[in-house]
């Protein structure tokens, strides 16, 4: 916070360096062995750009929705004492552990044309959710929102609750306190959670292909495209992944810089 550097202690620097090398090695190998010559054609096809755009847009929509729904849910878990809280917490953890493809099946069972909720909806209004861009967002939200919730709950638990007390003595409702005091104080945690959520949504494959399908343009996201490219042209798949990587790391880095400056 206030003191500058000095050399970081070895018991921290050493494992940190090992961890970094471990993460950077595969990336480095990927970059070294990447098929740069052949990459261009795969990258700048219309379909690739379409998939990239769809991925970025749906992941962003997902993240916004996750913030709107997930942050309050995290607050309830961390700050409110209601019956059945441990059940809610368990439910939040479920999508983390469920294999994504099964998550997609579960979404079909719930919201599909023959699903528990989707069935009546379809019969009454003719609405069918699967295989639309909305379904992509739903699949991503199901898989990625828990990451945000768990992170934000952790941040809330680490917070000094006395500021809430101070706000209450000034007549602030819990809602006013939440958005004026609590939110700014857990901003780093929310940033982290949103980044995780966005990244997870961007990389989502299993639940999306199962629940939303893979029509180019409407539901074919970049990871699905990469998966299919792996089937036919592994080099193109790597090139596509690197493109996805570059775009997302740049976006995350830009947002991060902006948010952390506040």
């Amino acid at each position: 916070m206030s003191r500058e550097g000095g050399r970081p202690p070895l018991p921290l620097a050493l494992p940190a360096a090992v961890g970094f090398v471990f993460l950077v090695l595969p990336l480095g190998a990927l970059l070294v062995r990447a098929p740069y010559r052949r990459a261009g054609t795969a990258l700048f096809s219309d379909e690739s750009l379409q998939a990239l755009r769809l991925s970025v847009v749906t992941a962003s929509v997902t993240t916004v929705l996750a913030l709107v729904l997930g942050v309050p849910l995290a607050w309830m878990l961390a700050r409110s004492d209601f019956r059945g809280r441990s059940i809610v917490r368990a439910v939040v953890l479920v999508p983390l552990v469920l294999p994504p493809v099964v998550g997609g099946v579960a979404l079909l069972l719930a919201l599909g044309r023959r699903g528990v909720v989707g069935g009546p909806l379809f019969r009454a209004f003719g609405w069918s959710i699967p295989f639309t861009s909305a379904a992509v967002v739903i699949a991503q939200l199901f898989v990625a929102m828990p990451f945000l919730i768990v992170t934000v709950e952790g941040a809330l638990r680490g917070l000094d609750g006395r500021y809430d007390d101070a706000a209450a003595t000034l007549g602030a409702s819990r809602w006013f306190t939440f958005h004026q005091v609590t939110l700014p104080m857990i901003a780093p945690g929310i940033t982290a959670g949103a980044a995780l959520c966005w990244a997870r949504a961007l990389g989502e494959f299993g639940a999306t292909i199962t629940f939303a399908g893979n029509y180019p343009g409407t539901t074919q996201t970049m990871p699905i495209k990469v998966y299919l490219a792996l089937e036919t042209d592994p080099d193109a798949a790597i090139a596509l992944s690197l493109m996805l990587l570059l775009v997302s790391v740049v976006i995350l880095a830009l947002l991060r810089e902006k948010w952390l400056r506040v």
């Binding site: 500021y163 007390d165 101070a166 706000a167 209450a168 000034l170 007549g171 602030a172 819990r174 004026q180």
Partner: protein
């Protein structure tokens, strides 16, 4: 005196607080009248902050009632517990707890905005208040960028901004310099004399109590040890703590007529009493001698000098012996007597300088 009795007309707060905190228990009942300030004093750890938190609703009570403006705020026996944010009470915390990510201005504006005032209006009101506290040029600084005394002034402004019916102040002047403290004190005094609800002030500074308080409640180990006006306390302390606050020596003994037995000595009194009495002696009225004095003073005891402390022109002695006392002598007298720790001396006090009252 207890809240259970029907309160008088102008009573703003009638409190009977019973609650526990870890292994510590508080039980204290008192009232505060409209436009007055009550000082809540007591040693460290006696439960003052606990009482304030309970009144604000931050700590659940397990016994008693809190009534503000005839409205019941808390009564565990009936399950009543008005929510903190719905009590017209503000609290200046001992460690101020300014919102760290906000500017001083936004901290002060916070309560007003919580009540629905627009951001602009609340801010200009906050600027006014900060201005009146001499903090105009720090208004835009973040709470974390304020000095200790500045932060405490902002906390005071923040609590007062919302015009509470009950203002709870937990050592609000502790970090302020002399000048600021005097002006804040004057400010608070002016505020209290108006038709401003009730104020409860915790402070360790006798001057705060003397200058500001209409009533004093002394808390010791979670219970009320004495109450009264500042003058009553200053004249007739009933505990060591109060005596020290008033700057007096306090002895306790059994009186029989004009004398009282205080254990290892006998004290000649100003008048005749019978039974348990307190005896108050002013440190300046104690004379110190190298040899046993003769003549008028009726109380003469041998003693040993314990500690010697220089307080400006005065020297404060503590003495050991049959009666342990604090005595103030002038610097020149101390030099003349060659007062040093361990020196055997004689102490003398005139009976007329001794105040006794029933325990």
């Amino acid at each position: 005196m207890t809240a259970a009795a029907a309160p008088a007309d102008d009573v703003v707060l009638a409190a009977d607080v019973g609650c526990r905190r870890g292994g510590f228990r508080v039980d204290a009942a008192f009232t505060i009248r409209e436009g007055t300030l009550t000082a809540l004093v007591g040693p460290n750890g006696s439960g003052k902050s606990t009482v304030l938190r309970a009144l604000a609703g931050l700590l659940p009570m397990d016994r008693g009632t809190v009534t503000l403006d005839r409205k019941l705020l808390a009564d565990p026996s009936s399950g009543t517990h008005v929510r903190v944010e719905e009590r017209p009470i503000s609290l200046v915390f001992q460690d101020h707890l300014l919102f760290p990510r906000m500017s001083a201005r936004d901290n002060v504006a916070f309560g007003l905005r919580a009540r629905g005032m627009t951001k602009a209006a609340a801010r200009s009101r906050a600027d006014l208040l900060l201005g009146s506290m001499g903090l105009t040029d720090r208004a835009s600084a973040r709470a974390t960028q304020l000095s200790g005394g500045e932060a405490q002034r902002v906390a005071l402004a923040r609590a007062r901004a919302v015009s509470p019916r009950l203002l709870l102040l937990d050592e609000p002047f502790a970090a302020m310099d002399q000048h600021v403290r005097a002006s804040m004190r004057a400010d608070l005094k002016a505020h209290v004399s108006a038709d401003s609800g009730a104020t409860l002030l915790v402070s360790h500074d006798p001057l705060d109590v003397l200058v500001l308080a209409d009533e004093v409640v002394v808390l010791e180990e979670g219970r009320i040890a004495q109450t009264g006006t500042p003058a009553e306390l200053a004249n007739r302390p009933r505990t060591d703590y109060v005596a020290r606050l008033a700057g007096l020596n306090l002895l306790r003994g059994r009186a029989r007529g004009m004398h009282a037995d205080v254990g290892r000595a006998v004290v000649a009194l100003d008048a005749a009493y019978d039974g348990e009495v307190f005896i108050a002696i002013r440190p300046t009225s104690i004379a110190v001698h190298r040899v046993q004095p003769e003549g008028s003073p009726r109380n003469v005891w041998p003693a040993t000098v314990g500690s010697v402390e220089l307080h400006g022109d005065q020297v404060r002695l503590t003495t050991l012996g049959p009666v342990a006392l604090r005595a103030d002598v002038t610097r020149s007298a101390a030099a003349e007597l060659g007062l040093n720790p361990g020196l055997p001396v004689w102490l003398s006090v005139k009976a007329t300088e001794v105040t006794a009252y029933p325990a």
